[in-house]
């Protein structure tokens, strides 16, 4: 789906990751590797730290220990996309305005603005382009939140519960997008408590690990 230039095939290495939350080390000494072109699914019971793991990798959460490397370089914020629980949409802005705002925040200064209408049709929301974000259904909001993945090219995708609120069509669409991204050299790490059909690698977090 992203017809940008392919990424170099590198793997994502995580060493000795430690994350503290609410006073306790929710993740301690976690190490794993995501192979090139792979989609890792992180599963585990609620509260085990899946979201914390993704947020730590994205840089939103400070980690106490550990390092993550993409190939030879440390994983930096401008190498990844993070799509979390909240959609990050402003309810009182239209979808088009939201996407433009998303790009303004996300894109590097020299990156070109994508065709918003083209983007909207990719995520299947072209009809809703002038609707207020608060008027959309949950599934439509999720798709809009995912728009950032196609807005600017980033090698690593961190997705938190990506299938939430998506209907069957939406799930198929997202899986297609993920597979295409991995095909082009991208890496995906997705946290989910339900099966993800695009996953090629699996990691299960347990309490007390």
């Amino acid at each position: 789906m992203t017809d940008k230039s392919a990424y170099t095939y590198v793997q994502l290495d995580v060493h000795q990751l430690g994350v503290r939350r609410g006073g306790v080390m929710v993740i301690s000494n976690l190490s794993f590797t995501v192979k090139a072109q792979a989609a890792l699914m992180v599963s585990g019971p609620n509260g085990v730290g899946k979201t914390s793991l993704l947020r730590a990798l994205s840089g939103l959460l400070e980690c106490e220990t550990g390092v993550a490397k993409l190939g030879q370089e440390n994983l930096a914020t401008n190498m990844l996309h993070y799509v979390g629980h909240g959609e990050g949409l402003k309810g009182q802005l239209t979808i088009t305005e939201n996407l433009n705002f998303m790009f303004d925040l996300l894109g590097e200064p020299d990156e070109e603005r994508p065709n918003i209408d083209g983007l909207l049709s990719k995520i299947g929301l072209l009809q809703q382009r002038n609707q207020m974000a608060s008027d959309l259904s949950a599934g439509q909001k999720r798709r809009a939140a995912m728009a950032r993945l196609f807005m600017v090219p980033r090698q690593v995708w961190l997705l938190d519960e990506p299938f939430t609120a998506l209907d069957l069509g939406g799930r198929v669409w997202l899986s297609e997008a993920v597979r295409a991204h991995c095909q082009a050299g991208g890496i995906v790490v997705a946290a989910s408590h339900e099966p993800l059909d695009f996953a090629t690698q699996y990691l299960t977090l347990e309490a007390g690990v």
């Binding site: 947020r55 994205s58 840089g59 939103l60 959460l61 400070e62 914020t77 401008n78 993070y82 979390g84 629980h85 909240g86 959609e87 990050g88 949409l89 402003k90 309810g91 009182q92 802005l93 305005e97 433009n100 705002f101 998303m102 303004d104 925040l105 996300l106 894109g107 590097e108 200064p109």
Partner: protein
């Protein structure tokens, strides 16, 4: 810079669409209307009280509106977007402060003359009053935002935010109200008080983004 400019425009647009200013203005007029019921409608008394009274009511109205400053961002995951941006968070926060100033303080200053006439303000004090509010405006926005950011992870944080911000507002209130009051004693605009306000506003706008960013990074997760 594009990101900061975009944050500025979006915040002003949102403030307009959400009608944030109406809350502040409504409180202003409600409070002002209550005053004569409390202290009596004697015009001479109101005239004496007017500049300081208006300042106090403005401060209270701002304290009221503070918790909404960051609350909506906290709820919809907007902070993540800001922190993941290619631009430094401090710059984006500064853009938010400027947006707050434009969306709230400017309309407030425009409405002040009307509010002033309700309490029989002396014409000579009106212009100094508006000037003092405009000059102190950035300080009010910046300091209020600090309180709002610190309380961002707390639900129903309105009172907590007001409590945190109140000591920060005292110096601004002192110089602001006093500069307007001095005009009543003759002598037009009290330049030294205005300069102090300007210095406070400048310092606040420069330093507040640092404190706010530090708070948001720790709290908005």
């Amino acid at each position: 810079m594009r990101a900061a400019y975009s944050v500025l425009c979006v915040d002003i647009l949102l403030a307009w669409r959400l009608g944030s200013i109406s809350l502040v203005l409504a409180f202003l007029f409600i409070a002002l209307t209550l005053v004569p019921f409390g202290v009596g409608p004697e015009l001479a008394l109101l005239k004496r009280l007017a500049p300081g009274l208006l300042w106090v009511v403005i401060i209270l109205a701002l304290l009221l509106s503070l918790d909404r400053l960051f609350q909506s961002d906290a709820e919809d995951g907007g902070f993540d977007q800001l922190m993941l941006s290619s631009q430094p968070l401090e710059l984006l926060v500064l853009a938010k402060l400027v947006a707050h100033f434009i969306a709230i303080i400017l309309p407030l200053s425009l409405v002040l003359p009307i509010a002033g006439f309700l309490v029989n303000i002396d014409i000579a004090a009106l212009f100094p009053l508006v000037v003092s509010v405009l000059v102190a405006g950035p300080a009010l926005c910046a300091l209020g935002a600090i309180g709002s950011a610190l309380a961002v992870s707390v639900r129903r944080a309105g009172l907590l935010t007001a409590l945190i911000v109140m000591p920060l507002y005292v110096p601004v209130l002192v110089f602001g109200a006093n500069s307007a009051q001095m005009a009543l004693l003759g002598g037009g605009i009290a330049l030294d008080a205005i300069l102090v306000l300007a210095a406070m506003s400048l310092a606040a706008m420069l330093l507040a983004p640092l404190a706010i960013s530090a708070a948001l990074r720790g709290l908005a997760s």
